[in-house]
Symmetry: C2
Subunit: 176 residues, 2 copies
DNA sequence: CATGATTACTTCAAGCTTGATCTATTCAAG
DNA sequence: CTTGAATAGATCAAGCTTGAAGTAATCATG
């Protein structure tokens, strides 16, 4: 299951990422604030991993990351979730959720159930077929992520998790 | 300079991010691999910051993140960059770079110069107007990022930078 | 109950991004 | 020189995402 264009792009560069000057982070001058460097590196790491996951989901399962993400939330909330809950959890706009749910519903992977208490709302749930489909993908997805992050020791994983938690907490607080 | 929709979404949630159950990371079960948790948290942090930067660039400077990113690379390489160099640095496809450069060129913020050695290629450079415009944005951008990341101490910044570097190195290596 | 504000969701246009395909140029090998 | 492969870039359809505006239902307050 090749990932044509992405692989092509990667192979073309011909280096192993050691060439700092050809890297996005080169825009951070040495005198720049540490924060800028961190942000750029964070972004790079995320995009590298995200790109892989995206391309493997496409070539291996003919689906997309947003669809996978949405199904992942539903899998953890078997009673179903309302549209606005999905929107908040996935950190995307409501219009976006509508579009993705529309697709998945058309493919019978999720269903919209009426919410008895509130006639404005639905409860979105995985169908049986959706559960089955998701389970398969989730197994592969976890393997990919584990492999991609296996460069850090368990100790480093914990340290990173802690630092990211702190960063996240602060960002969320600033935005409140 | 408000950020209407995003702010609206944020205000609506009514919590301070303390409610783990309404968080994307809730999909990581306790028995799941550490790697999955880290990946989800990394993604959340990135999206939070990226969303802010994006929305502030729009409301404050009527531009977008990809445009800003591209100009940032050009600002660091005053002699200009070829399309494929931009594509590699920004980690996006060539078609994407074409589209963004087309826009910026139409607005006279960048220019395509013929590459004498290779008639297939151009050299993209910031115009004077582009430099001026970018400098303004870059100052604001750095302030935003510094503020968003100010939750970590200098020591923690360095630790995080180191861990992300290691992660990145490994990911790049795996993909080679 | 009336009414104004809020909430749940949809719709839509505009911009981003990808992946695929295309043309033109350059390079490599015979 | 010729020819086939590789490269630089453009183009395009399809899907993602946002931000803005709209509809319908619910809530809060008097």
């Amino acid at each position: 299951m090749p990932a044509p264009a992405r692989a092509e792009r990667r192979d073309r560069r011909g280096n192993r990422g050691n060439d700092r000057r050809s890297d996005r982070e080169s825009i951070a001058r040495s005198e720049d604030h540490h924060a800028l460097r961190i942000w750029l590196r964070l972004l790079t790491c995320t995009q590298l991993i995200e790109g892989q996951v995206r391309s493997r989901l496409r070539s291996g399962f003919a689906t997309t990351l947003p669809r996978f993400d949405l199904m992942a939330q539903l899998e953890r909330h078997r009673a179903g979730l309302k549209m606005n809950e999905l929107s908040r959890m996935l950190m995307v706009t409501g219009g976006n959720v509508t579009a993705i749910v529309d697709q998945l519903e058309k493919e019978r992977l999720v269903e919209r159930l009426d919410e008895p208490a509130d006639r404005r709302a639905f409860r979105i749930r995985l169908t049986r077929a959706g559960e089955k489909s998701f389970t398969e993908m989730a197994r592969a997805h976890e393997e990919w992520v584990v492999a991609l992050l296996s460069g850090l020791s368990r100790r480093e994983h914990e340290e990173l998790l802690k630092l990211l938690a702190k960063m996240k907490r602060h960002v969320v607080e600033v935005l409140s």
